[in-house]
Amino acid sequence: MIRFKSSLLAPATLALMLTGGAVALAADAPVEQPKPERQSWSFYGPFGQFDQAQLQRGFQVYKEVCSSCHRLSIPFRMLEDANGPGYSEAQVKTLAASYQVVNDDPNEKGEIFKRPGTPADIFPPPDSFPNDEAAAASFGKAPPDMWLLAKARKYERGFPNFVFDIFDAYQEIGADYIYAILTGYTKPEDTQWNLYYPGHRIAMPAPLQDGQVKYTDGTAPTVSNYAKDIAAFLSWAAEPTQTERKKIGLRAMIFLIVFAGLMYFTKKRIWADLH
């Protein structure tokens, strides 16, 4: 089996070797690898909803910090989502217009041209990294697109936690992971050392410093707050329909429980005459 796996995973091994020395370095740095801690999130559980102010702060962090390297492949219009950041139509229009996007079709002279964005456009890639290869050239690894990041990251829950998670409705693994990574740069002398990253060697140098983003709502400008806000924003971006889902879910649950109760008593009544 080992032999067979290594043969079929040959491309993977190659890719791992190409994408930075993370694995190799892990061997000579045997530091304990803690699991991310669970944070309290407003959107946790069946009744959880996003905190609009937090999502707006998170977007601010994205725009001022993350967006210089990371794409966010969502259309501008999504920011109007009332269950999400809830920006006004005018705000989103202004925001979109401040970006230059590449038009889908060439103009009448056959030239590809750029124009100001509209709410229907998708956030354009960062100016410095028009494509993944350009990004990989400077960091050894392309910064991932952030639109699904909160769903695309995890840490091992292990037994028996993974069983409890069913009853606990724990779905914020990705958000906890992102928060942990952003607050895991605990060696100031080495900006690519991360407590929570597998092997501790992360391609992304510490992106956040206290005071870097100026919040306007009085929230303390700390790395911890930035990390929390961006993790919340990315959780929304990864699954913007989750508030609607939970609202419908509560109604569906009430219906099903009442319906099951009715079925139970009907069943008892019908079977009663048998005994």
Binding site: M1, L8, G45, D165, A169, R245, M263
Partner: protein, 412 residues
């Protein structure tokens, strides 16, 4: 069990139609008058639950197919388009992806119920084998469905499973190339998987039809494993008795299903499948969906690839031979104390293999997987044949009615 229908339509039109195509009579004899053993417990409601899940998967699947694009460049985006832009697309997709897991949960309970109560024994061998075929088709369908979102785990899963065929001597590599439609998993593979993922559920419907037909010829087994002797005393009519019981069990099952769909829809979905497939980047740790994990563990437990693949398929194929591997004349585990002991060991082996299939390969895990694999095959090919010869069984009640009366404590 069900003789010629006694159904007489009330209206003149109904009688006219019935004499030309007796479909109402067929429905009536199958789902109304059909006699059901009166001692069935709630484990016998899973047939109805499974029928519901099959229909639910087909309905949600057909609507999803209207929005999904089966191409390597568009598949991943189209799934996210369904999640974000299609009205209630998220609901359809979560119903479908979690529905697959619920379908398997129900089928596993259904299968273990059959194994515990000896439902595979004469005269139900054909019924059982049809069930194994359905199970096999379900696994193929689910596997191909998992590939469609074209996430990185989809791609890795497709690569691992299709690579199994390279183990076939001489022609293995050619067979794999033929399956892929190229030299690796790619666009042609995705396209054919989509076509087959759409086709196989209808084949399942066909075999389920045969399964139900066979069931209605031989009648249901029951917790006491004694055949119906007196239809009057031993059975009740399917409607309303079994119908309402199935409805209640189904509603409870739907509560569990809804919990997953609405509150933990991503619990069973690997985070790596939210990353688009990239042949150059394989997930650090490849795991199939939970319902295939025991077989994956058996595959990994065996160092030789060909033997591993043979063991994987044997683990499923052997189930079809259960009616002949089990030599005991007594059906129900209720009256077979020694059998019960081995049965639960078998269940522990299956669950243990499932857990190990999800874990990374270590020496200890491989050793445990080997022990559990021996337990799995040992139960089927050693314990069951031998038990029938040496076991002292408890006396089964003479009839279903006697079993029911003994349970409710009423003298007769």
């Amino acid at each position: 069990m069900s003789g010629p229908s006694t159904y007489v339509p009330k209206s003149a039109l109904g009688r006219w139609f019935e004499s030309r195509l007796p479909i109402m009579g067929l429905m009536h004899s199958s789902f109304v008058a059909y006699p059901v053993p009166r001692n069935l417990n709630y484990f016998w409601t899973f047939g109805a639950i499974l029928s519901f899940m099959l229909i639910a998967q087909i309905v949600t699947g057909i609507v999803l197919a209207m929005h999904y694009v089966p191409s390597a460049t568009m598949a991943f985006q189209s799934v996210e388009h369904i999640m974000r832009d299609v009205n209630f697309g998220w609901l359809l997709r979560y119903l479908h992806s979690n529905g697959a897991s619920m379908f398997f949960l129900a089928v596993y309970i259904h299968i273990f119920r059959g194994m515990y109560y000896g439902s595979y024994k004469a005269p139900r061998e054909v019924l059982w084998i049809l069930g194994v075929i359905i199970y096999l088709l379900m696994m193929a369908t689910a596997f191909m469905g998992y590939v469609l979102p074209w996430g990185s785990m989809s791609f890795a899963g497709a690569t691992v499973i299709t690579n199994l065929f390279t183990a076939i001597p001489l022609v293995g590599v050619s067979v794999s190339h033929w399956l892929w439609g190229g030299y690796a998993v790619g666009d042609p593979t995705l396209n054919r998987f989509f076509a087959l993922h759409y086709l196989l559920p209808f084949m399942i419907v066909g075999v389920v039809g045969l399964h139900v037909w066979a069931l209605h010829v031989v009648g249901q087994n029951n917790p006491d494993g004694v055949e119906v002797k007196d239809v009057e005393r031993d059975t009740v009519a399917f409607t309303p008795y079994a119908t309402i019981k199935d409805m209640f069990a189904l509603s409870v099952f739907l509560i569990l299903y809804a919990w997953f769909v609405f509150f933990i829809p991503n619990y069973l979905l690997d985070a790596d499948n939210s990353v688009i497939a990239n042949p150059l980047v394989t997930p650090a740790h490849i795991v199939p969906e939970w319902y295939l994990l025991p077989f994956y563990a058996i595959l990994r437990a065996i160092p030789n690839k060909l033997v591993g693949v043979v063991a994987l398929f044997a683990a499923i194929a052997l189930l079809a031979f259960l009616p002949w591997l089990d030599t005991s004349a007594v059906k129900s585990g209720k009256y077979r104390p020694l059998f019960r002991f081995f049965f639960w060991i078998f269940v522990v082996c299956c669950v243990g293999l499932g857990y190990l299939g999800s874990q990374e390969v270590t020496e200890g895990a491989t050793l445990m997987a080997r022990i559990f694999s021996v337990g799995y095959f040992g139960y089927l090919v050693v314990a069951l044949p031998v038990l029938g010869l040496i076991e002292k069984t408890k006396p089964a009640p003479p009839s279903i009615a006697d079993a029911v009366l003994a349970k409710s404590g009423v003298a007769h």
